[in-house]
Chain length 205, copies 2
């Protein structure tokens, strides 16, 4: 709720306003649903503020998240046509990163492709390209050693001002959690799959 | 992930397809962030499927969730203009329910207003008005006795086919959780407010 007050006021030499507007590193982890969905929901707020949003989807299935991608690209279209909201870019590893503009069929080395994605994000963070970065399912390339966890943490800690980053996925590295400002764990209490119901259109994708 | 398999196959006489497409009652609860944000993220998928989405926001602050509201209303506008996606209606208790069309200043009896909201949702569920209902912060009127928990659970259990419902808020009733198909608990691991940072534009609203 907006009226909530901080529990402590740190002696960091910042004004409340400066502290308030410090960009955040956020992590959505845990085994439950809603990690990525909540990150895409955040993109709605960012869009409404007119922010530039960059989504980087670190999964191999080209169909996965197609609903969120279509809707956020429609909002990007609204921005382009009317000036309302902000621009949203969606980059997907599964069909080859869009800035590389190569044949998707050549993108079969997942580790190399994940590393290429992270290298591009580093360039954008250095350039201050976006106000919100959604690094979807990025905990997995970190976990599998496709990107270096120390490099990720150091890069994010040293990023240029005013850039929010949200990272989603299970099993977030303890070093990432230590570096983050906001960490939420999504925990499964009950799932229809436990009762024999498979995922369905409009709900799971 | 889409390829996951159910743990059990129930002897309910339904085909896999019938079971798969059975509409869900979903609950996002817990003290962490992302409960509502994930529900609005789900609305993106529903929009992309061309579903009718009804959002019912059971909070009193007219400013709260303004980012999500603006973005989802923009998607409703895309649907109206181009036919892409589906229609999204956003109804907010804080400024008086939109179907009542009365002066917002008269809406100062929160309990009565919450009950009016639930009565309208019951009418829509009976009429099959939407394919996805987002009942945002609806656990609070349930907790505070403004709506009857048994009535809510019985109404949702008996609702017409093909209507998904997601309810968000802390402290969900055990009876609601029992009745739900999917329950996720959002748990706070770390929050910037603990370090003295207040909520900020684009992130909290």
């Amino acid at each position: 709720m907006p009226q909530a007050q901080p529990l402590v006021v740190p002696a960091d030499g910042l004004t409340t306003r400066q502290r308030r507007n410090r960009a955040l590193l956020m992590v959505h982890t845990g085994d439950g649903k809603g990690k990525s969905t909540a990150a895409f929901g955040m993109a709605l707020r960012a869009w409404n503020q007119g922010w530039s949003v960059g989504v980087f989807q670190f999964v191999k299935s080209a169909k996965w998240r197609i609903g969120e991608q279509s809707a956020l690209e429609a909002l990007d279209g609204v921005h382009a046509q009317t000036g309302a909201g902000g621009p949203i870019e969606w980059h997907k590893m599964g069909s080859g990163w869009s800035w590389l503009r190569r044949d998707a069929d050549t993108a079969d080395d997942y580790a190399a492709e994940a590393a290429e994605g992270w290298a591009e994000i580093k360039r954008r963070l250095a350039a201050g390209a976006h106000r919100l970065y959604v690094l979807d399912e990025f905990t997995y390339p970190m976990k599998w050693g496709w990107v270096d966890v120390d490099d990720v943490v150091a890069t994010l800690a040293g990023r240029a001002e005013g850039q929010h980053v949200v990272i989603t996925g299970r099993a977030a590295s303890p070093r990432l959690i230590e570096a983050a400002d906001l960490v939420t764990e999504m925990t499964k209490v009950k799932h229809p799959m436990d009762a024999g119901q498979k995922g369905q259109r409009g709900i799971e994708w």
